[in-house]
Amino acid sequence: MPGEPKSQTGGAVETTMGNLLRAGVLLSAFVVLLGGIAYLLRYGTAQPGYHVFRGESAALRSVRGIVVQAFALHPRGVIQLGLLLLIATPIARVVFSVYAFARQGDRLYVVVTLIVLGVLLYGLSGA
């Protein structure tokens, strides 16, 4: 609405959203760091081979595979889990927006947000 103060959703929702994003980034960075330390301790003296594209191993290409590898404490699996949490962070924000718009009774934007969520989940569905 024109002239509506400050923002369209109110401060509380935005504060929660900001905290959600920050928590997601910090958590995933922490997991990546832990996995990274283990990775360097184990493979630090190996030779990197990124000149030729072979693609990541099948186990680290799917959500299920990554979770299995991470809980088996394979360093590369742990890093990949951290990256997955990072990808999930903006998705969580969109989920939260559905709730925020619904609470305001803004049906139009609940639908818009659900479309965005559908596209995001479709993108991840291959994984």
Partner: protein, 280 residues
């Protein structure tokens, strides 16, 4: 160079990229791919995957500060995310169809544009202050207000279909190249839809993470995202942009912005040259 040294070099490079990227508003993503492909000889598909992940990290980290300021227009952002996220999916599928040479070439051109965009003096568009003329924007309740020293100032959004189309393009480039394409997003909202600059830049930052998350799933399932490569990139860029944001308040960023734009231009020419030579 073994894995340890490789990770150290990459982490340091990503730190500098994140630092300069957050200072200049260009984002770290634009230099990660050239750093990986040109300097370290990494296949561009791995490079694009690692870069895309770092884009999500910086965007979400920065957005957490922005959303609290209340400048961003959440309705405009969410509506345009329909365009950017479908564009990003399209771009990610496209990435598998076109040659790496082609990706390198398009990347070079986008880099040139980003450098040009960052150097051009910013002219504040007369943002729509007259009563709303755009029926779609009114229907979608996109108009808003933002805080200025003179108090709250209302603005009226225009050209929603054009903005939507441009955003699809921005999303496609993001999915194809693993960048945030923030510059394009700001142009679409600034010049086409006539949002005030502060609103368009914060709303854009807010959207970048969602756009990147759409194509990240496709990249992951295709094996473009390698943990050993993404780990130093993400941690380096995150740390760099954190310090960049701290530094922003204090120092003369004009010089740094020029240096960064110059660096990006050189990288753009290198990318184009190497792609034409078939080395990418």
């Amino acid at each position: 160079m073994n894995v340890f040294e490789f990770s150290l070099v990459l982490g340091a490079g990503a730190f500098v990229a994140g630092f300069l990227g957050s200072l200049t508003g260009l984002g770290g993503g634009v230099v990660i791919v050239p750093l990986l492909t040109l300097a370290l000889g990494v296949d561009i598909r791995y490079a694009v995957g690692a870069s895309l992940i770092s884009v999500i990290a910086t965007s979400s980290g920065a957005a957490s500060a922005y959303v609290k300021e209340g400048f961003s227009n959440i309705r405009v952002g969410m509506f345009l995310e329909v365009a950017t996220s479908t564009g990003a999916l399209f771009g990610a599928f496209l990435a598998a169809l076109v040659s790496t040479r082609m990706i390198g070439l398009v990347f070079g051109v986008v880099l040139l544009h980003a450098a040009y965009h960052s150097l051009r003096p910013h002219v504040e568009q007369p943002c729509g202050e007259s009563p709303p003329q755009d029926r779609i924007a009114t229907l979608l309740r996109m108009h808003g207000a933002y805080p200025t020293p003179q108090g709250l100032r209302p603005y009226y959004v225009r050209a929603v279909p054009l903005g939507f189309g441009l955003m699809f393009g921005a999303g496609t480039l993001s999915g194809l190249l693993g960048i945030g394409s923030g510059a394009l997003k700001v142009i679409a909202m600034d010049q086409a839809m006539r949002l005030p600059f502060k609103v368009s830049s914060t709303t854009s930052n807010f959207m970048i993470g969602v756009t990147a998350a759409a194509s990240a799933g496709v990249y992951l399932s295709r094996g473009y995202i390698d943990p050993g490569l993404a780990m130093p990139v993400v941690l380096g860029v995150l740390a760099g942009s954190f310090f960049g944001a701290r530094f922003l308040a204090s120092a003369g960023t004009r010089l740094l912005r020029n240096i960064f734009a110059g660096l990006v231009t050189v990288l753009a020419v290198e990318m184009i040259y190497n792609s034409l030579k078939g080395r990418i």
